[in-house]
């Protein structure tokens, strides 16, 4: 018996199933089947990316991502029958992301900003149509995506940008809090104004 896909999945304004949401946070879960060269290439790519995290710097530019991960799965741990033992014929790449905004916008941004990175990561996957144009790529992701059965965010109303700004603001507020009572009122007013000006983008 297999879990059935919900037939009339209500697609929300964000372009994905409601079960993939918790407030602003959206889950994407994708498996792709890897061609022979990917068995060698992807572990090297992962290792190089961890060592020289240029890709993750670009991911940071996509300010709507909270967390993301890629895993390469060649075999699954064995737990006894009726599970079958052994390696998969092909390795499979698991990708998940936790982001905010819209599903379509997310894929668009990924395709346009991470064009080379996407080709590197999915280029050895069967059926991968290249990141651009985005329509075939979206179709590919949809075909390989599995909806979450339960999704949770500890701060569902916050976007990734809000969080990064709040953390930045907190860091800027700390010295003012530390020195506030040591200053004269005039000194404090100047320091407060400087803080508000400096922190404007974080508010």
């Amino acid at each position: 018996m297999s879990v059935e896909a919900t037939p009339a999945a209500p697609i929300t304004a964000t372009g994905t199933h409601p079960r993939n949401h918790d407030g602003q946070a959206i889950a994407i879960t994708v498996f792709s089947t890897i061609k022979l060269p990917g068995r060698v290439f992807l572990p090297v790519l992962f290792a190089v990316t961890r060592r020289f995290p240029k890709l993750t710097a670009t991911l940071r530019q996509l300010s709507f991502i909270h967390f993301a991960r890629w895993c390469l799965i060649g075999r699954l741990p064995y737990n006894g029958p009726p599970q079958k033992k052994g390696r998969f014929r092909y390795p499979h790449m698991y990708f998940e992301s936790n982001f905010n905004g819209g599903w379509e916008e997310y894929i668009d941004a990924f395709s346009h900003i991470l064009t080379n990175g996407m080709t590197a990561f999915w280029g050895t996957s069967y059926g991968f149509p290249k990141p651009l144009p985005t329509a075939p790529f979206k179709k590919y992701i949809q075909a390989n995506e599995t909806e979450a059965d339960h999704y949770y965010s500890a701060y569902p109303e916050a976007t990734s940008t809000m969080i990064q700004r709040a953390l930045e603001l907190d860091a800027k507020l700390a010295p003012l809090k530390r020195d506030a009572s040591r200053m004269s009122p005039e000194e404090f007013r100047s320091a407060y104004r400087a803080f508000i000006t400096d922190a404007q983008n974080a508010l």
């Binding site: 879990v3 079960r19 918790d22 946070a25 879960t29 089947t33 572990p43 992962f46 961890r50 991911l59 940071r60 991502i65 909270h66 967390f67 991960r69 890629w70 895993c71 799965i73 699954l76 741990p77 737990n79 006894g80 009726p82 599970q83 014929r89 092909y90 499979h92 698991y94 059926g127 390989n144 599995t146 979450a148 059965d149 339960h150 999704y151 949770y152 965010s153 500890a154 701060y155 916050a158 990734s160 969080i163 990064q164 953390l167 603001l169 907190d170 507020l173 003012l176 809090k177 530390r178 020195d179 506030a180 009572s181 040591r182 009122p185 404090f188 407060y192 508000i196 922190a199 508010l203």
Partner: protein, 185 residues
């Protein structure tokens, strides 16, 4: 070499467990119904930033993709992933303790899960089925859940204060600020 499950202080955990034949639908119904029964059980784990349960029925095979052989999963698999604070070991201790009632309904429906579905036995089971990340990315990996929530609250507080403080004189402003935010000096 950097630990692939680590980004800042954040860790990635993933377990993929085979669902017992016949238990696919009850498990899906249970997981999909969690929201209607109250807060997510993952809210009981205050170190969880974001987590998910996903039942994967099969791999996608498309004849137009020139894949020489189709590949299918032998069973449905349950994926549990969490983006968490601190070390995975102590997180799993918390999970296996605080989520014991739910764990019976979730991993208790998976092949090889110990009957108790709790405590050390469940932790061993989850670790046995752990899938290591290739790459794990966190946009704010240095911040714990508590820090994120506190910063979000403070941001609201600063915005409200900035509006309220407009037009205050220097002395009043300083006193109001210290009263609002305290002073560590």
């Amino acid at each position: 070499m950097a630990d692939p499950n680590v980004s800042g202080q954040a860790r990635a955990f993933m377990a993929m467990t085979p669902v017992k034949p016949g238990e696919e639908k009850p498990l899906a119904e249970y997981l999909r119904g969690l929201r209607s029964r109250g807060p997510s059980p993952l809210a009981k784990l205050p170190r969880t930033h974001m987590g998910r349960f996903v039942i994967v029925p099969d791999f996608h095979n498309d004849p137009t993709w020139n894949q020489r052989h189709e590949e299918h999963l032998d069973l449905n698999y349950l994926i549990f992933t969490s983006n968490l604070d601190g070390d995975i070991d102590s997180y799993l201790d918390e999970l296996c303790d605080k989520l014991a009632p739910e764990a019976k309904e979730i991993w208790g429906r998976c092949v090889g899960c110990p009957d108790s579905a709790s405590g050390h036995a469940l932790k061993t089971y989850l670790k046995h089925n752990q899938i290591k990340s290739g790459i794990f990315f966190s946009a704010y990996g240095q911040a714990t859940v508590a820090k994120v929530k506190e910063s979000l609250r403070r941001r609201e507080q600063v915005i409200a204060f900035a509006i309220r403080a407009q037009g205050m004189g220097p002395e009043e402003l300083q006193q109001a600020f210290v009263a609002e935010f305290g002073s560590t000096g």
